[in-house]
Amino acid sequence: MYPIWFQKRPLFTVLSALTIFLLFFSVSAFAQDNSQIDTTIAVDTTLAEIRIVPPSSVEVSDVGNDAGGSIDIHWQLSPEDQNGGPVISYSVLRAESVDGTLGDFTEIGSVPAGASTYADGNTVDGLKYVYKVAATAASGAVFESGDSIPVSSSAQWFDMRRINVFVGVLLVAGFIVYYIRQAKAGKELFIRKIAGLDAVDEAVGRATEMGKKIFYVPGTQDMDNVQTIAGVTILGRVAEMAAQYETWLEVPVSRSLVLVTAKEMVKEAYSKAGRPDAYHEDQVHYLTDDQFGYAAGVDGMVVREKPATIFYMGAFYAESLILAETGNSIGAIQIAGTGMPSQLPFFVAACDYTLIGEELFAASAYLSREPKQLGSLKGQDMGKAVILIALIVGLLLETFGIWNFSTLFSVIE
């Protein structure tokens, strides 16, 4: 199915394509035009009672790092523009320039006295425009600056302000890919003990001994949440164990997309465990999209059917407490995992084991012990190591006033 080069080295192919693509665009990003010129010609001041020296040095430039369609205009204030002075506002005039011939100037906007910039957000890319700025006096008389040089707006292919994010993502992605390759090559990767995950086996086993059900709640968010994806992945492992132990696993879900995915997942797991016959269509079923409708539904099922083991893995909101407390009250073994900080205290309190934040994402690697998964976990750890080092170095540099290190991480322009 895949081209041969992709089959052989998929990671390498995708990443190198990505790099080439981005390099190309970052080069073209430097090719943006940035023009400015000083033109000061006083015009049309004859009839005015008070003469105002018009604004000068109208500089125009394409707005950088954008999708095009806008031009920045900047000018020197009229010397008379002081508090209580005669200038009340500036209006910005624009004309199209086609092959060197200027069209008519029309006013495109105005700003109050004291302001020296205007952003024209309504240009057509590629067309050349000439701007001038006029100071308006209280009497209504208008004093215009000279024309700017022609300028056109354009869209850029790379947002230079985001280069640090780009480098960061590339670094972390690089680590992950590197360690995945290492792991595939057979290198042993250590992973520390995670108590909550060691308990999964025991929890499934207990349900089997007691002859009771296992409930699995993959969070209440949709498939567009990465935590849900993590939850569904862990569901696969749990389903496999349940199939081996021949224990009834029930998965109530609250989103239709999750229903579709979870069904596939469980079905697959059963056939992987060699028990495709044991899989039942109704094991995974939909209740309602509504948070509390769902919580109430699951609650009712838990109280009536008294499962021996309940898993909560995924993204949760307020329903976490209802679920965990009810499960606790019937004495089920509960293992929870979520990246929702506000729900963690309840899971920590009411469940036997809780995967805190990032541990949820580590779970699928931990349970499967697949080299690829372990490798990505190691790569993720290296990302953390870089952050830890950056924290130490940065704190030292900044505390002793050597260098403002944190600007490296600045995202806002």
Binding site: V165, I191, L257, V260, G293, I387, A390, L391, I392
Partner: protein
């Protein structure tokens, strides 16, 4: 009608509250109504807002929306068992886009920004910080650092490293405690709101 409406609302409110006593018929009735109504509510709302509002009348001349409709149709193919496998395509699309979008969003907002804010002159610029700020800054730096160490998976938590991780878990626990306190606050407020409905709006007993 007005009287009927508020009594219906009160009846259902009390029905849910009755669960606190025990699982009973009144609660089960309220719960069943809730499941039905809420599933229907989202069903109708999503149809009018997303399919009708976004696609049917809202598409304008944006041909790209047809792609969405096409993906939606593929999704519905699941209803036809023979070609059900094709519903994996829109699913693949959504998962892929989510992965890409979240990768960037979380990296820039939660990693870059938070690291940026943790790196600061601990003693203030030009040693200007008050003792209060200084202690605070150090607490934040130490807390963030050790918390991250706790999340380190590929190294055994022993020795100095383990000690740091231990400090990290302390910070996490304080965070959970604070979160817990705020959650209690929140839930109590909502209960207050509901009891205000019962005793105030419905029975008019609150002055």
């Amino acid at each position: 009608m007005e009287h009927f409406a508020i009594w219906v609302a009160a009846f259902l409110t009390m029905g849910i509250i009755s669960f606190l006593y025990k699982d009973n018929a009144w609660y089960k009735l309220s719960e069943a109504i809730f499941v039905g109504i809420s599933a229907g509510y989202w069903f109708v709302t999503l149809f009018w807002d997303n399919i009708y509002g976004k696609f049917w009348v809202g598409r304008g001349d944006d041909a790209m929306l047809y792609i969405g409709a096409f993906l939606g149709l593929l999704m519905l193919m699941r209803l036809v068992p023979k070609v059900g496998w094709i519903s994996r395509w829109p699913l693949a699309f959504i998962v892929g886009a989510t992965a890409g979008f979240y990768l960037i969003n979380y990296f820039s907002s939660n990693v870059m920004r938070q690291v940026e804010d943790t790196i600061m002159p601990l003693l203030g610029t030009d040693y200007s910080a008050t003792t209060y700020d200084m202690i605070g800054n150090i607490v934040i730096a130490v807390g963030t650092f050790s918390g991250l160490v706790y999340f380190f998976f590929s190294k055994e938590h022993k020795g100095v490293f383990g000690g740091t991780a231990k400090v990290g878990i302390f910070f996490l626990m304080i965070t959970f405690g604070a979160s817990f306190g705020y959650t209690v606050m929140s839930r109590m407020s909502l209960l207050i709101g509901r009891l205000d409905f019962l005793f105030g709006d419905w029975l008019g007993m609150i002055k």
